[in-house]
Symmetry: C5
């Protein structure tokens, strides 16, 4: 699982709880109606703005992103080099077995087309379109989180406005002004935390994940075309290793 996210979530919540507890009891920061309007409003607005399928999809994507590690580029390149060697020795048909054993449907389909003798150009077109569609899917996920990051503080403010209007309309008892305002401000507090500790970082992480995913798909794409064209495995490996970025900047001192 993604260790960085866990540390971030736990420590972020910890810092906020700690700050609250240093100043007084936690009880006054828990207010069910406030939670309802901020969480409920955010979800409601998101449901109007995006198709149900996408919203459910984003939940799945989120779990996947935070629970599973993406395949390492090194492993993909090693796997492709092996397949390339096999194809060079035994012909394209000899790689048919790898189609079953691969867990990546993108690679599997590309191998299938290679074995079937589909033209390089057609393989390229189909793979490019798949990459494009995957990118669009992941971008939609990132966009949904970004939208929620905008809705949460907005509904926080709406909740605060409701509380303020109700307080201002009944100023008879001055001693209740403070506590009422405190309650009114809690929705703004919830909205700010939801946006800044959850939705914005998750949108960022998904964006980064999308780039990694597309880089991996690019490696598979270039590797398969190279195999289809019968390029030497060593040359292919050299070209793909550029993606590992152990070159230029990193070693520059």
């Amino acid at each position: 699982m993604d260790i960085s996210s866990i540390i971030g979530c736990v420590s972020g919540v910890g810092f906020i709880l700690g700050t609250i507890l240093m100043g007084g009891p936690i009880g006054m920061f828990i207010n069910i109606p406030s939670i309802l309007i901020v969480v409920g409003g955010t979800i409601a607005a998101t449901m109007i703005g995006f198709p149900l399928g996408d919203i459910i999809g984003i939940a799945k994507t989120a779990i996947k992103v935070f629970m599973f590690k993406i395949e390492k580029a090194e492993d993909i390149i090693a796997n492709l080099t092996e397949i390339s060697n096999k194809a060079r020795k035994g012909g394209l048909l000899s790689i048919e077995g790898d189609i079953q054993s691969t867990s990546d449907p993108y690679l599997a389909q590309a191998l299938q087309m290679t074995v079937d003798g589909v033209k390089t150009e057609d393989i390229g077109q189909i793979m490019e379109k798949k990459m494009e569609l995957t990118k669009k899917d992941l971008d939609t996920g990132s966009a949904i989180f970004a939208s929620m990051a905008a809705y949460a503080p907005a509904f926080g403010m709406i909740g605060t406005l409701i509380g303020l209007v109700q307080m201002l309309a009944n100023l008879d008892d001055p001693s209740t002004i403070g506590p009422k305002m405190a309650v009114a401000m809690i929705t703004t507090f919830y909205g700010a935390i939801m946006a800044n500790l959850f939705f914005i970082p998750m949108s960022d992480k998904l964006k980064g994940r999308t780039e990694e995913e597309i880089t991996n798909m690019n490696i598979v794409y270039e590797g398969i075309l190279s195999i289809r064209e019968g390029e030497h495995p060593k040359l292919m490996e050299d070209k793909l290793k550029v993606y590992l970025g152990d070159g230029a900047k990193e070693e520059k001192k």
Copy 2:
């Protein structure tokens, strides 16, 4: 109809009403002059910013988007495959009947040009331009909602400023300060709800819809060019099915 939008609207309004009712009577949140300046100002600014035709068009588009489902990509591909098979067996003229039976004018015109023997290149150019113009139309719709989402809170603030100035100019009776400020803040409340529960989500949904629409048009575009060129129906179907996205990411586990 679009079930996600209905749930979102109903629950969003519900959460807000619920939060209000838990704190006091709903009456103080209904204020006709406040509604007039926020709704009226938003519409007035939109009318200055966009041609009347576009504004009326956007209303129609909004109804269509929220009332009707877009055609499924699967059905479009199945239909195109059928037409391709017919054309392969009986020649391009045999698909003339499909022109009448199709409800999509984009497909109908493309079929007509195919039957008429217009050059592939010319068909392609005309279809591309149509796609581009449809995209521009839908983008205008999304832009109008986005503009309204910006105007609504602005006129909410203008209404609040009017209320505050009037209150501040007459501070004689301290007991009226609270209620007057409450009323002044209601326009800000209206503006925030209009923007965050309606205009922004609707702009988002329209953006998503535009993408689906253009994807569908792309499928028709590629299918028609394939039929015009006499490509094998099976190959065409394979290529179009990439759009269904049941590949790469989805099945990746």
Copy 3:
């Protein structure tokens, strides 16, 4: 004249005046020094930010946009079809008369070059560059309005800050605090109205107008190149009619 803008302006001002009058006399919302700093500051900042020529140009453009209707695409296509027919029957020289009778200098110059026998490629290049320059001019106009939309609320806030500082420095007489704050807030009110009821909508309208203008220039561009190449008038008309957009989306039900 542009009916939508008139309705918008009149009703927008009406809603604001109505809201004010329902709450008290209009007098307290009219304050000459406040008008001076918001209007003056906005104009001053715009003059630093843009060359004098552009600012005067934008005033003219604004009048043109709000007073005159743009030529309809239908009429341009009909005119081009007529010229194409004439050229087909009587040769390119026969269209020399149309150069005088056209009121659009873009079309006139293009016709002149066609009659003069300038190469299609050169005509294309010159027309493309003209389109590009027209777009840049109109974009500058839209950018100036967008800048003014940002300056107006900023100088509104500067005015309010001046008023608040002066009020806070002299708190001796509590009874004057309210009225002084009311006056201080009027500049913020002016800035918000100027931006949201005038500058932002005008920038939006100019943006939309630019698109229409460029679409029209594109129609002329494609039409002239088609005439220069001697394409059949009917084919040209069919291609240009795509721009009318009476296809795809509109008729889709």
Copy 4:
């Protein structure tokens, strides 16, 4: 010198001073510590954000932009036409004298390469790269002003926060609350003026200036390539005059 900027600066400062003086003495708006934190903080942040060379460069650029007029496109075209005529009559070598007499190093270098008989393609490449680098330089200038426009209000707010914290920590003497708050707000006032009357407009003007500069460089670029290729001077002049924009939009009535 740039008359529009002078009028803008003088009138902008005038409107602000006038508004202040109408409400009270100017003295309370002058506060040395407040100036220090806003001006100092803005400069400090800019120094961290940009290399020293760029910051000094931007000062020079600013002076140049506001003190010197850019060469008129008309004059550049006239000059190029003259050179083109000379080259046509006396050969490319006859224009060697113009290299010394031109004050524009971009034109001078281009002429030198033309006289030296460098291949058209190589001249084009070098001139394009020079244009690109000039654009990047000017864009950096505009970006620095835009950054300062963001820092100034931020440090204004930081100054106000310092003042408010100090005031709130010592509420013993209520009579000092007002004046202290007044002083605290002055930094916000300074930041708003610096951003809206100076940095934002200067960034805008620099952006406009960049476009003019690049247009001029484009004219020289096209002119030189035309001379190098031995195109007829009249044809070259016609092509370049498109840049003067006395066509399409302007004369459209």
Copy 5:
């Protein structure tokens, strides 16, 4: 080391400390819980938003950017010219020694490929991809700082909200209101300083550094391809010197 950043940091902190000390003791601006929530929250959100590797990488990058000077373009060009001369005289193999002596792995790998006789096209492709990946890496760094610049004020506001809610819930003793509010506002103060004096400027500087780095890589790229193609060293030098920008704009007076 980067002198501009040091002056900026020292003077920026100095101006803020000076302003504080002119108004009272520094003690009330130091509050450990406030530092914890702003710094801690910012780091926590960043850890959720970006992979751990990237965050650690950014720290290293930051140190490098602020501690080491980038290689001067002049030196790179001089070095390439020397290598080009050597290759011209002694053949491509004679430059093998330079591979060891160069400290830039980007140049080293390019030289190695040149010596190995890799095709110009392949060298070009690999070098372009390396540039692209370096740019993406540096852009990620700039994006992380920009994210932190957004989180810091947000957690400052969250801290202030916590303080305000706690203060409002206990208004019993009016004499504590001021000091409590002062403490509450300190987190906002911290967030504003962290964003405006550190994260935003650092993001800006990293962006500028990225451009310089890429320009240098472009020089190496063009130089190596020129050497591989056997172009004359003088011609190569002339082409590369365009990057020094001692042309057009700079000398224009």
